[in-house]
Structure formats: structure tokens, C-alpha cells
């Protein structure tokens, strides 16, 4: 029991929970601030993950052109970002002139399209098909640019309690949280500016904002692109500690990110971060607990993996309870945000 709790606590600051947090921050810009219903955040994450992995695998500037590995890393991230911007434009140009529901439908479908394209057999050469892309194919640059590793310029930091920074996983976690902090500062700065005021106004009433001389379409597009880029970067962070698997970008991922966002509070700066961390912790805690209970034979003839699925039942129940009793999330101000669709 204690082991389960400790193991889950270890997950609090893992690279995965950072990826969830960043994806939730992006979704918070969409839903919490601009009122855009994006049900395809997993699609943005997939675009980011595949963009990054494919660029590193095939262009590979480090071996092809002799670039330093940190530069190749940045180039691969930029490539993924450009891909997600194009994806956002394709989604936004036809739908943002229409009512919000249309964006919801289009995003949920296109996220699935991205996943199915990635796992098509005909594209196995590029995307690895349903097998995905192995970690060794794209982790060369990120592992080589760890400044905390032996011989790195920050190696002196990685001593004593911080020693784990010099490992690959420590470096992923560090980089992920740095990017989350950058995103938090960015959102905080934007949302207290006149730009953020227009975005929040659009959430309340598009026509009113239009009647005040603001180009609503352009602002909605900017919000969609910004949140989508954060989703794409979250997708990159998501694949550092694992391999690229098309099915890890299924709709479940989108709804997990939504749960994290609503748990923390949609229109708050720190809510998505808290939600992402807490969601990841609770999920692994419930999973561990179920595994323990399964060991005691409580679930009868169920197999361990069948019982494991019950964790997602708990997620669903938690979401319902949240919506009913605290719709504004943990960080949210009840006066400011109850659900608004």
C-alpha cells in the first residue's frame, strides 16, 4: 500500500505529467480563455510527436550535415511546431467562422484521421505503421544534448541529491518542466494583456467583441494556433521517456487532458499544471491500488489487465463528480467560471 503511494508520488514530477500539464495549458487557452471546443488535443500531440521523430529519423542534421546535437534538437522541435501550426490552420480556416460546435466535431475527427494515417501500413517506411517508431531512432540528439551528463557544461550541478539529472530520464524531466514553466509565464503574461482581454471577450460573446471593432476570426485563429503549438510540444515531451506509438494518441488521451484541465480549473494559469500533475498521480495510484487488490483475489476471475481498466472507470466517475460539485476546478473562482459552452 505504501509502496503504491510512494510510487505514485514519484510520478508527480515525471516527464509524463509535465507533458499532460503542457497539453492541458494549451487546451486551457482554447477552452478556458477563448471558449474554443477542441476535442482533438491528442491530434496536436501526435503531430508534434511524429513531426519530431520523423524529422530526427530522416533529416537527422547531426549525422547528415554535422550540426551540433542541440541545434538538431531545436530544429526538430521547430519542425514539429511548424507542422502543428499548419494543422491548426487547416482546422481553423473552415470552422472558426461557424458556431463553436463545428470546431468540436472537426477536431475530434481530424485527431483520429492523424492517428489512422500514422498507423497505415502503406506509410510503414515513414511512420512505422502500427508499430510506431523506436526510441533509438529519435533520441540520439536529445540524449547527446544533456548538459548534466558526464562532460556536459552543467555536470557539476548533477551531484548529491540531483545526481539523477545526469541520467536520460532526469534530463527529460528537467527539460519538460522548464518548458512547462515557460508556457505558464507566457499564458500569465498574455492573459493580463489587452490581447488576453479580447480573447476572454470572445469566450463571452463573439458578436459583442466584433461590434467593438475586433477581428474575432483572427483572434480565434491565434488562440487555436497557440494552444495547438503547446499541444505539439507536449506531444514531443510525451515520447521522450517512451517510444512513438500511434495508439497512445487515441481519443482517450484527449479526454485525459480534458479531465486534467477541468480538475485544475480551465481559466486559470496554474490550474492545468496542478490538474496534469494530480491526474497523473491519481491515475497511477488507482492503478497500483487495483493491482494490489487484484493480488488479493478481490476481482475474482478477472485478469490483471482487465482489472487495470477499472482505473479509467474511476477517471470517468471523478470527472462526473467534478462537473457536478466543483465545475470551476480546484484553482478556479466559482464566480468567474462555471461551465460555459
Amino acid at each position: 500500500m505504501l509502496d503504491v503511494l510512494l510510487g505514485s508520488l514519484g510520478n508527480l514530477i515525471s516527464a509524463e505529467s509535465a507533458a499532460y500539464a503542457l497539453a492541458a495549458i494549451g487546451l486551457g487557452i482554447h477552452f478556458g480563455y477563448a471558449g474554443l471546443l477542441n476535442f482533438g488535443q491528442a491530434g496536436f500531440m501526435a503531430i508534434g510527436a511524429y513531426g519530431f521523430a520523423i524529422f530526427t529519423r530522416f533529416v537527422d542534421p547531426t549525422t547528415q550535415f554535422g550540426w551540433p546535437s542541440w541545434l538538431s534538437l531545436i530544429a526538430a522541435i521547430l519542425f514539429a511546431v511548424v507542422c502543428s501550426v499548419i494543422f491548426a490552420l487547416i482546422l481553423g480556416i473552415p470552422t472558426l467562422r461557424l458556431r463553436g460546435d463545428y470546431l468540436a466535431i472537426v477536431t475530434i475527427a481530424s485527431a483520429e484521421i492523424v492517428r489512422f494515417v500514422a498507423r497505415t501500413q502503406d506509410l510503414t517506411e515513414v511512420t512505422g505503421g502500427s508499430q510506431g517508431i523506436r526510441g533509438t531512432d529519435y533520441k540520439g540528439d536529445i540524449n547527446a544534448s544533456n548538459p548534466f551528463a558526464d562532460g556536459g557544461w552543467l555536470h557539476w550541478v548533477a551531484s548529491g541529491p540531483l545526481e539523477s539529472l545526469s541520467s536520460n530520464n532526469g534530463w527529460y524531466t528537467f527539460l519538460s518542466w522548464v518548458l512547462v514553466i515557460v508556457a505558464v509565464v507566457l499564458v500569465w503574461g498574455l492573459m493580463r494583456s489587452p490581447w488576453g482581454r479580447v480573447i476572454k471577450g470572445i469566450r463571452e460573446d463573439e458578436d459583442a467583441v466584433r461590434s467593438l471593432g475586433k477581428n474575432v476570426y483572427s483572434y480565434k485563429m491565434q488562440a487555436l494556433v497557440l494552444g495547438g503549438v503547446m499541444g505539439a510540444i507536449a506531444g514531443i515531451l510525451f515520447i521522450f521517456p517512451r517510444a512513438v506509438q500511434p495508439d497512445s494518441f487515441a481519443t482517450t488521451l484527449t479526454f485525459n487532458v480534458w479531465t486534467a484541465l477541468l480538475l485544475g480549473g480551465a481559466a486559470t494559469v496554474l490550474g492545468p499544471v496542478l490538474g496534469g500533475v494530480l491526474f497523473w498521480f491519481l491515475l497511477s495510484f488507482v492503478r497500483g491500488l487495483i493491482a494490489e487488490l487484484h493480488g488479493l483475489g478481490i476481482f475474482g476471475t478477472m485478469s490483471a489487465s482487465q482489472a487495470g481498466q477499472l482505473a479509467f472507470v474511476a477517471v470517468g466517475v471523478a470527472l462526473v463528480v467534478l462537473v457536478v460539485f466543483r465545475p470551476q476546478g480546484i484553482m478556479g473562482n466559482k464566480k468567474e467560471l462555471s461551465f460555459h459552452v
Binding site: W195, G201, R203, A208, R210, S211, L212, K335
Partner: protein
């Protein structure tokens, strides 16, 4: 329409539907909007006088709000042209119409509920540097402009007696206060023409007088006002000029004192046979009504064929 030609200081020539104004701010020509087979708006020519308060009245379904939406770019006409101070506004999107100085309010108030009253006001200011994405992150670029806007917003809020509500969410205001906020917000952009869609709808009688005074105040500051209203008391009390629409067309125009005596207006509101008792129709009258109905049917048939 009477045979004696009436004149009026706002009008260049004789008074009548579509008459020329001495100094028009808006001129609309042949504006037509159809929803399927229904012609909601079919305005041949209308001019709105500058620095005056013009009321747009008419029975329900006359096309007043649709005409409003067309003028402000919130709806696109099938055909037609209109201009604000010699600048054509046909096919100009709503946000650009607002930037050119023609700002509207809505029949169902659109206050931005989960923004504070002050934020609502600041949203109205035009040409804000901080509203561009890249400069939004650099407060030193827009801080000074923002402070000036806050000052202006505070002045307006004091004038509209909303100042103590400054930090409250707009959703917590009463219906009448929201109307006031919407009007104050539209003034943040220094409009030339303020378009008010039913400013009195749902307003507590206690606030009516102050709202009327604010509308009159707009004129004193050199703005022009066009408003849609059903409240005839308000129309008579504050408007300088009245335009009457019925079935999508401008059927009459005139000063508020005499417009309600116009036969076209009476017909529009009450129907052409309103003073005939249906119980005492003579045969002659019945025949006349039937002929009229047949003629009307024939003309709509022709229109459909054409």
C-alpha cells in the same frame, strides 16, 4: 401622403419616404435582403441625418433589426449599397464597420458576463497596441496607452453611474445597468454614429429617464444616433426624425410630432381596414376588399414569376 408639401429643416426638399437630407451621415440605396422567398428588407433609398437622433420604428416583422444588421455588417444583403460619410460600407465585415465609426448595441444585451465592468469598457477602446499578439507580452509597449484608456473608461463609468461597479463582473449587473454598460462601452471607441437596437427593452422605469438623458447627451457631443424602438414615449420624447418601416420598406418619414398621423403609418400599424367594423360591411365594401385581395394576390404571383 398629403398633397401639400411639408418641409423640415433637416430635409432638403419635400418630406416623404426616402427624402434627401441636408447633411446625411448614412445614405443607403436599394438594400435588399431575402430569406428564401421572404423579402425581409427592401429599402429603395434612405438617408440618416447627421448630428440628430433618428428613430426607426415599425410593427413587428417590419425588418428594422435586419436592416440594422445589414448596415453594421452583421448580415450580408442580396444587393444594395450604403455609405457612411462617402465611404462605401457594402461588403465590409462587421469589425471594420465598427472601426470606421459606426458602433452598435444589441436588442438582447451583450455584456461580457465574466469580464469585469472595467474590462468590458477597455475592450471598447480602439487601436490598442497591446491587442497585437507579439506586443502583448511586452507591457512597456502598451502600458501608457492602457492607463489613458482606464482613465477614459473611469470618466465614462462615472457619467453612466456605474463607477462603484467597476470591479464587479458584468454578469452581476441588472438588465438596465447592462444596457448602460453596453452604451458606455460603445462610446469608448469615439463613434460617429451610434446604433442602438431597442435601448429601452427590459429597462426598469427608474432607469428610463437617465438612459434618455444619455442618448440626448450623445447628440450634444456631436454624434449621430439611430435607434430602433417600440416605446413611442421615447420616440416622441427624444428623436428629431422618425423613419417608419413596414414589410421591409420605408413607408414614411417625418418629425416625431406629426408622423403618427401619417396614413401610411396608421395603415402599417393597424392595417388599412382597421376602422371598418367587420359586422357592418356593405356589399360594396366586401366587393372592394375582395378586389384588393385579388389584385394583391396577382401582384405577388407576378413577383414570383419574375
Amino acid at each position: 401622403m398629403s398633397d401639400t408639401q411639408i418641409t423640415h429643416p433637416l430635409v432638403d426638399g419635400p418630406v416623404g419616404p426616402g427624402c434627401k437630407k441636408v447633411d446625411p451621415i448614412v445614405i443607403a440605396d436599394g438594400v435588399k435582403r431575402q430569406f428564401g422567398g421572404l423579402t425581409a428588407v427592401d429599402v429603395a433609398h434612405v438617408e440618416i441625418p447627421r448630428n440628430a437622433i433618428t428613430a426607426l420604428i415599425g410593427p413587428n416583422g417590419a425588418g428594422k433589426t435586419t436592416f440594422f444588421n445589414l448596415l453594421t455588417g452583421f448580415d450580408k444583403p442580396n444587393e444594395g449599397n450604403w455609405q457612411l460619410d462617402d465611404q462605401s460600407l457594402a461588403n465590409v465585415p462587421a469589425y471594420k464597420v465598427a472601426r470606421r465609426g459606426m458602433v452598435r448595441t444589441f436588442q438582447l444585451t451583450k455584456s461580457l458576463g465574466r469580464l469585469t465592468v472595467l474590462q468590458n469598457m477597455l475592450l471598447g477602446a480602439r487601436d490598442q497596441r497591446g491587442e497585437r499578439f507579439l506586443s502583448a507580452l511586452l507591457p512597456f509597449l502598451w502600458g501608457r496607452q492602457e492607463r489613458a484608456n482606464v482613465e477614459r473608461a473611469d470618466d465614462l463609468l462615472r457619467r453612466f453611474k456605474l463607477h462603484e461597479k467597476r470591479e464587479d463582473f458584468a454578469a452581476s449587473l441588472s438588465g438596465g445597468q447592462r444596457k448602460l454598460l453596453e452604451m458606455a462601452r460603445s462610446l469608448m471607441s469615439d463613434p460617429r454614429l451610434v446604433m442602438l437596437d431597442e435601448p429601452m427593452a427590459g429597462v426598469n422605469p427608474a432607469l428610463t429617464q437617465s438612459l434618455l438623458d444619455h442618448v440626448l447627451g450623445l447628440k450634444d457631443e456631436g454624434m449621430s444616433v439611430l435607434f430602433v424602438e417600440h416605446d413611442m414615449h421615447m420616440v416622441r420624447h427624444i428623436s428629431d426624425w422618425v423613419i417608419v418601416m413596414a414589410e421591409g420598406k420605408v413607408v414614411a418619414e417625418g418629425p416625431p410630432e406629426s408622423i403618427m398621423q401619417d396614413q401610411a403609418v396608421v395603415d402599417a400599424y393597424l392595417g388599412a381596414h382597421h376602422d371598418t367594423d367587420l359586422g357592418t360591411l356593405t356589399n360594396q365594401q366586401v366587393v372592394q376588399i375582395e378586389q384588393e385581395a385579388a389584385a394583391e394576390l396577382a401582384s405577388t404571383d407576378e413577383e414570383e414569376k419574375a
